[in-house]
Structures are given as structure tokens and as C-alpha cells.
Symmetry: C2
Subunit: 294 residues, 2 copies
């Protein structure tokens, strides 16, 4: 094997592997595939290699993936947490060995782990405020597991906007599910049985919002006149569904680039991760026909 | 470092790394993210690790990715070729070292490389035959670089179906572009200037078909009555666009699983890759409203 550059062997001597590990809930969502593409570009341009794995939304798989990453001697790890992760003990062996672990999107508040996210509270506040300004009074909020910062913060933003508009919070209008298209169909069928009907729906992903709109239209509901709908992420489908979907432009590719750059700069001693700690990326409300009444 | 299982060091002794490499054109397409998710699941379940990279559609980057994979001592490589790859010399070092390289989807006919694909000729024949059966006589075909088997085979299928229906092939009706949404908009604007207008459009991906439908609708064209439209891949957007899109159900997740299984079985000496050589997966025409006239 002498004629092939044996980079792992030399990495062992240098005590680094030039490998960045990534653990995400699922690889096949529009948002996450954009994130991974952004990460890969930066990693590859810096002559690192990228090992990826998916937790399939369970803490058990996430912990097992973390062990594999450790055994593979990754130089650093980028993580977006699984749906049901309650503890991050499985990342402690990295901290002990001074291998940086950076959380992005679905983060875990902990002083030893730097984080990259958007201001989910503000984004959800803006969506809800927009719906209220369009005249909505009874807004259903479809969201995910409140263990995850992204969904807890968005619920907080929803509540705060209601408060600012002097609209009482009604727990009956909050639906928590796994955010799949299938569960959105079931949620919308439940919404159609509500009396009185709500006049707005704010879902925390576009997959759910698109399914909602499809079910509402089949039931003869006029969007946005009877029910205004807003989503989150700005998936390509947001501009395909009719009416086009109001949503939050959450730039996955840019988040991937930022996360990989932050980690690689740290590994190259150009950046102190603890000092930076948190990087909050910009997101923006995009108003389209699904909620524009005026 | 003694207390951490040093798998790369022991891999060096065992002369394998338990790493599978993947090189794809782009990670952020709906089809490719499904493929990667399928590959990751099988690779992870078999205690291999997955290194991924994207060629960003250029042979130059693909060759550089291949060198990195070789230096990383991957046990095997899964490749879907870039848009402009004209030679696969950059994979020869793997063959010399008896490291299996398996092509999937965008393959290269070569006896030393096993391949996984769908019958693109048959799938395109069925789409075109369907459009002709619905009464279309002038069908525009929007396709990609004919260097790639997937697009060359689909053009062959299109031509063969025309022939079977005694419709003359008209080169003016074949548009070759990079298959982006942007190019599909430009292509559709050119189509709208054709005199007479075509009565059918068959695109080799759904991204293009969705853009075509959007532009045609804005121009007041009735789909499928005036122009019937069919795509390829069965992206989620196919069931969001109105009218819903006729397309070919191309199962990316299953292709990823099959490619990873084939490679891992070979590495475990359970399968002779040269003997299997080609695996042709099933695909199926799904007829929806965008082309259903009868």
C-alpha cells in the first residue's frame, strides 16, 4: 500500500483525522438536504472529509451514532438533535477529549456547546402578528415536541404576539404532532370539526402547511378569506401550492455553511468556539397569497 | 488516547476502514436526498461509516473527490456521475487496488464497474406512449446532457414511442438544458412562441415540469386540454402542483438501499459484484391530471 498516500496513518501521528462528523434527525427533508449541501461545500473546500449519519429522530440512535463518530476520531461534530432527545450525555466524551461539538437548528442550551440557530421566537412572533394584522382572531398553531427549542420558542412567539394583540391564548388551538404530512391531514380534519372554525393556521413547517391547505381546499374552505395559512422553512413547495404559502425564509444552505465554517475556523485556531458560543442567523417572513387578505 | 477505541488504527492493521464513500452530483435535490437517506440507513445498520461528497456537476471536482476518497482508504465507493463527466479514468486507481466502485442512476457503461439503474428507455417510452394515447401529436421533450445514460436512454424511449405511433420525430421539439427551474421557465417561454403550439411536454425531471406548468398557466394555457405535461421522478411537488403531475415513480430511497446493500454484501464476500454486474430497479408511470384527457 506504500504507493497510496496513507492519510489516516499520518493522521494518527498528527492526532487529527481531518474528518468532520454530522448527526442529523433525517437526511431527506428539503431543509436538511440544503444544510448538508452547505456543510459539504465548506468542508470539502477546506480539505476535510464529511462523515454523516441520521438519528432517525431517536435519542438511542443518536447516541449510537455519536459512539461511532468518536471511534472514527472525528476532529469535530455538527449535531441537530433528534425529536425525543432528553439528555446530551452521549456527547460528553467529546468534550472530555476536547473535540468540539456544535449544535445547529435543534440545539441544547449548555455552556460547553456552541450553537447556531435562528431567532425562532422572533420569527414565530412575526408570523402570528402578521396573521392577527390580517384580521385573524382564532389561530390554530400546529407544532412539534416542546423538548426541542425550535418548537418551544415558536410557541412562545405565537403566545407573545397574541398577548400584544390582546387575544386570549386558547390551549385547545395548539396541536402537537410529529410534523409529517400524514399528521397534518389528521390535524386539519380535526380543525374542520371545530365550532366555531378557526380563521388562521400557523404550522411550524411547510410540509404541514401544504397538507393543511390541500385538505381545507377539498372541504371547500376559501384561503385566505375563511382561513389564512402560514408555514415555516420556505420549502420549494411553498411556491407550488395554490395559493402560494406565506412562510419564514429559513436558509438551510447558509446555516450549513456557517456551522461548518465556525467549526473549521476553530480547528484551525482561528476562532475560539467558547468565546463565540452562539451564532444567530437571520430569517425573514415572506408574505404570500395564503394569508394576504388586504 | 488509550481509552478510546482506536478503530482507524486497527483498521490499518486489518487493511480495511469500514468506510463507504459516496460521490453524487448534488446533495440537495429531492431524489438525491432520498438516495442518501437510503444508503445511510443500510451503511449504518451494517456498522460501516459513510463519507459523502458532491461533485457539483463537474468532472474536475468529481476527480478531486475521488482522490480524497482513495486517501481516506474507503472500502468501497458509490458514484452517480457529474453532468459533464467524459471519462472515468479517475476511478481506475480503485480498480487497481481492488476497491469496488459501483455506479448508480447516472452510470458509465464499463465491464469493470457494477451498476444500478432503472430502465430509462422503457420508462420514457411509457410516458411518451401515454401522451400519444391521450391524443398528443406534437410532444416537446425537455432533457439533459446526452453524455449521461439517463437522458440519452429517455430520448431513445421518446423516439421509439413516436415511431410506434407513426409520428415523425422532429428535432426542433427536443430542448436540452441543465434541468433547473430557471431553464425550464426559459424553455417554456420558447415553447409558447412555437407555431403551431405543441400539445404535449415531457420533461426528464419534475422540477422542470412544475415550472413548465406554472408558466403555461400564467399564459392562460389549459392543462391537459391544450398541452398535456408529464415529468419524471415523482418528487413531493408532483402532488402539490395543480393539476397534479403525471410522472415516473423513481424510488430514490430504495435505490440507495439497494446500492449500499450490493456493495456491503460484496465486501462481506456474500456477493460477487462482477457476476451481478447490473441491477435494474423497477419504476412505474403514475398518471395524474396534468395529462389525463380521457
Amino acid at each position: 500500500m506504500g504507493y497510496r498516500s496513507n492519510s489516516f496513518a499520518s493522521n494518527l501521528r498528527r492526532k487529527n483525522s481531518n474528518i468532520i462528523g454530522v448527526i442529523v434527525p433525517r437526511l431527506n427533508s428539503s431543509f436538511m438536504s440544503d444544510v448538508i449541501a452547505g456543510i459539504e461545500k465548506v468542508v470539502n473546500n477546506n480539505n476535510y472529509n464529511l462523515i454523516i449519519s441520521q438519528s432517525l429522530e431517536t435519542m438511542k440512535k443518536e447516541a449510537s451514532n455519536a459512539r461511532a463518530m468518536l471511534n472514527n476520531r472525528v476532529d469535530g461534530l455538527l449535531v441537530s438533535l433528534a425529536y425525543d432527545t432528553t439528555s446530551i450525555e452521549h456527547f460528553e466524551p467529546f468534550i472530555k477529549r476536547k473535540i468540539p461539538v456544535l449544535f445547529f437548528d435543534r440545539i441544547f442550551e449548555h455552556e460547553q456547546y456552541p450553537q447556531i440557530y435562528i431567532d425562532n421566537f422572533k420569527a414565530a412572533y412575526e408570523v402570528t402578528d402578521h396573521l392577527l394584522t390580517q384580521g385573524c382572531k382564532r389561530i390554530v398553531h400546529i407544532t412539534g415536541n416542546q423538548l426541542r427549542n425550535v418548537y418551544a420558542e415558536r410557541l412562545r412567539g405565537y403566545k407573545k404576539a397574541l398577548e400584544a394583540h390582546h387575544v386570549d391564548f386558547d390551549e385547545q388551538l395548539v396541536i402537537i404532532n410529529d410534523l409529517s404530512a400524514k399528521e397534518a391531514v389528521a390535524a386539519t380534519e380535526a380543525i374542520l370539526k371545530m365550532d366555531p372554525l378557526p380563521d388562521g393556521i400557523f404550522t411550524v413547517n411547510d410540509v404541514s402547511a401544504v397538507s393543511c391547505i390541500q385538505v381545507l381546499k377539498k372541504a371547500g374552505i376559501k384561503i385566505p378569506e375563511q382561513i389564512a395559512v402560514a408555514g415555516f422553512n420556505n420549502d420549494p413547495a411553498a411556491c407550488v401550492i395554490e395559493p402560494n404559502l406565506t412562510t419564514v425564509n429559513y436558509k438551510g444552505y447558509e446555516m450549513g455553511e456557517a456551522a461548518a465554517s465556525m467549526l473549521i475556523n476553530h480547528l484551525a485556531d482561528r476562532q475560539d468556539l467558547q468565546q463565540t458560543h452562539s451564532l444567530i442567523l437571520r430569517s425573514e417572513l415572506i408574505v404570500r397569497e395564503s394569508s394576504r387578505r388586504k
